[in-house]
Symmetry: C2
Subunit: 387 residues, 2 copies
DNA sequence: TTCATTTAGTTCACGTTGTAGACTAAATAT
DNA sequence: ATATTTAGTCTACAACGTGAACTAAATGAA
């Protein structure tokens, strides 16, 4: 139900509007903000003043000389108060990243290690060490950590990682194993990477992010908002049916995309022991490797055709392993999309590689907290006023 | 961008909150409304008073005796002021329907006629006659028509029906050919039928409505809102790939769902000249008809598996021709869904037949206007106060 | 240099809206 | 009858945005 609005909510909303306008529109003067938001100069002045006091906005020096009239004072987002912590558990590494309100990276670290088959307790202990280091540094910078989000690859619901096929985990609740001074939320890697691309990378208001790992996940962004389905499990692109009579899949079905374009299938078909080896083979023009990529690309194209027909996507971003394989995948994928979608829609969707690569998930994770602050700055303003 | 809020918007929003609470929560007293909305009794009293004056709410007699204390006066949605007009052009008929704010049908008419190959001008002239009749009756009832929506089967954008394969139309702009005293909006039949089921039928907050006609369309409802994709063309379930090497489809691809479960494919495989004939054959246990339905059901199941994996649907409603074929389709569809989705999710989505049948589209069309009034009653309140 | 002009930002009386609590109304329980 | 309970209204008040007057700080013309 839409919530009732009182004076307090009205103010909260207008704080958000002003902060958001600055966040999107670069440096803006109060006068420009009044024009953009439709609020009066006096209201904007009050709101900007409060946001500056709260440390969410900062005045840059007097602006743009050369024109007639008193020059306005521009305000920008301030990275001086709030920060957030993004965490990621991947098969091959652990990563943490601290972002400030402006999207600036204040701390980042990554520990390469093979997590395959490691016990959750052990992996999370190491992650906790990394996170503690990040929090210490953030504290040293005088920033307040507004929250933390952890990215894992596998279906997630209600704080539980149901299954992580690449790690061999089942029903793990990471927050219970992490002792950190901030609450840690959990979400799926593909979803968070999609948000990362949306806010800091190749994403736009509407697009599908495809995450090629052991499984193939996807994050769908609609109208600038992550779509997560009825129970939060949307985006299982890997089990979209590509050939009903195809190879048996671990999901119980057969002919799922994963059996054609999943990392294991790719490596097996390409006769390579690892992704770097596959890449090397591709670089030197190795036949089986090229064929493997081409047929994986066609399968991906078919699955994406179904997705585009259902969802009317106008942009697709390939991430995960597919980022590195993009030069060899994009041709077959585009070709299938173009021929299969040509009859129904003018132009096929734009296909691009991830711009953030392996950083997408931690950026999305930390960004989610940042964007929550941007979407509701009122508590920070109030707290600043009380102090 | 989120819009700035002033006092006027605050009030508009709270009017909406109160009206919406009554709309969803059946008859409610002012006291109950205060509790439900979180607004104070005095505010609710004022808002309810204004909504009653505007003719959007009505007081029913004093409520529920038997308990202690003064009995409250219950208010309900009032169907006495606003109405809306839903229109539909189908291959086999034209239909109009007038709804009031409560969802009550105030007028309905349907002209059976074969529109295949008819010129747009001719069909729309007949529709205009029907609509004029409906508007006259609405006027006689003292209702104000808040808007009209026309449902057509085919992709729609910006008031243009790009193509209607079953009618043989191309790039028609129906609003230009209709002379009516209310503006007429255009939308896709599957989308509007989905909304019809959502508001007045078998739909819930999240579900996929499948419309089996010549083509196979779908309307996706997420969080109670229709999802229409980047350019409004979402829901092309008919061109989800079911078998990449399958039969050639008119879209340029091959192995699309439509080539297996579209009306033409069904009739051809079932050896029946028409849908009634196919139904009769099914009723008497005719072999080819049963086989045709079973294999169409399996194809539909495969396409829906892909949809569920992508979108995490928990409910699917089969409409259009599939409503009548439901007894023969539901088995194969469910079987495929269950076996293919079992490994990943606890329970497969709930499958049901449309509850509204052929009325879904006009109900959704008229309902869309009604729900727009419910979502923003302020203009009606203001106008009532000025008069 | 001086002053008109232009644009930015602040101040303050005011209007609109929701709030809190006293008050009136209408029922049941004792 | 009277106490109790719940519904609904009324009124003084508070929160917040508005609008116009006002101050501030630049450019340009004389």
């Amino acid at each position: 139900m839409t919530q009732a609005v009182r004076h307090e909510e009205m103010r909260a909303r207008n704080l958000e509007v002003v902060l958001g306008a600055v966040g999107r529109g670069g440096p803006l003067t109060r006068a420009a903000l009044a024009e953009v938001t439709g609020l009066t100069k006096s209201t904007v002045s009050k709101l900007v003043g409060d946001l500056v006091d709260a440390g969410l906005l900062a005045e840059t020096g007097p602006a743009r000389a050369g024109e007639r009239g008193r020059p306005g004072v521009e305000v920008v987002l301030s990275g001086a108060r709030v920060a957030s912590l993004g965490l990621e558990i991947n098969v091959d590494y652990l990563a943490v990243r601290v972002l400030d309100l402006t999207g600036g990276v204040r701390f980042a670290a990554r520990r390469e290690r093979d997590n395959r088959g490691s016990r959750p307790k052990k992996v999370l202990a190491e992650l906790q060490a990394l996170a503690t280091e990040a929090l210490a540094e953030t504290h040293r910078l005088g920033l307040e950590v507004a929250g933390a989000v952890l990215a894992v690859s596998g279906p997630v619901g209600d704080g539980v990682l149901f299954t992580a096929p690449n790690l061999g985990w089942q029903d793990v609740r990471p927050a219970d194993l992490l002792r950190l001074p901030v609450p840690v939320e959990l979400d799926n890697e593909a979803n968070l990477a999609a948000l990362g691309e949306l806010w800091y990378g190749a994403g736009e208001r509407d697009f599908l992010y495809v995450s090629g790992e052991i499984g193939i996940g996807a994050g769908l962004v609609v109208n600038g908002v992550l779509y997560s389905g009825a129970t939060g499990l949307a985006g299982e692109l890997g089990h979209v049916v590509v050939a009903p009579e195809g190879a048996q899949c671990r999901c119980g079905g057969s002919g799922c995309l994963e059996t054609y374009a999943g990392q294991e299938a790719l490596l097996a078909a390409g006769n390579a022991p690892s992704v770097p080896a596959l890449l090397a083979a591709l670089e030197r023009g190795d036949g089986p490797a090229l064929t493997a990529c081409a047929s994986a690309g066609r399968a991906l194209g078919i699955a994406l055709t179904s997705a585009v027909n259902l969802l009317d996507l106008d942009r697709i971003v390939l991430g995960g392993v597919f980022t590195q394989l993009y030069p060899w995948l994009s041709g077959p994928v585009s070709e299938v999309l173009t021929t299969r979608l040509g009859g129904l829609r003018g132009t096929p969707p734009v296909l691009t590689a991830s711009r953030l690569g392996g950083d997408a998930a931690t950026l999305g994770a930390a960004g989610r907290v940042i964007h929550r602050v941007l979407a509701d700055p009122a508590p920070f303003v109030t707290r600043a006023q009380e102090a």
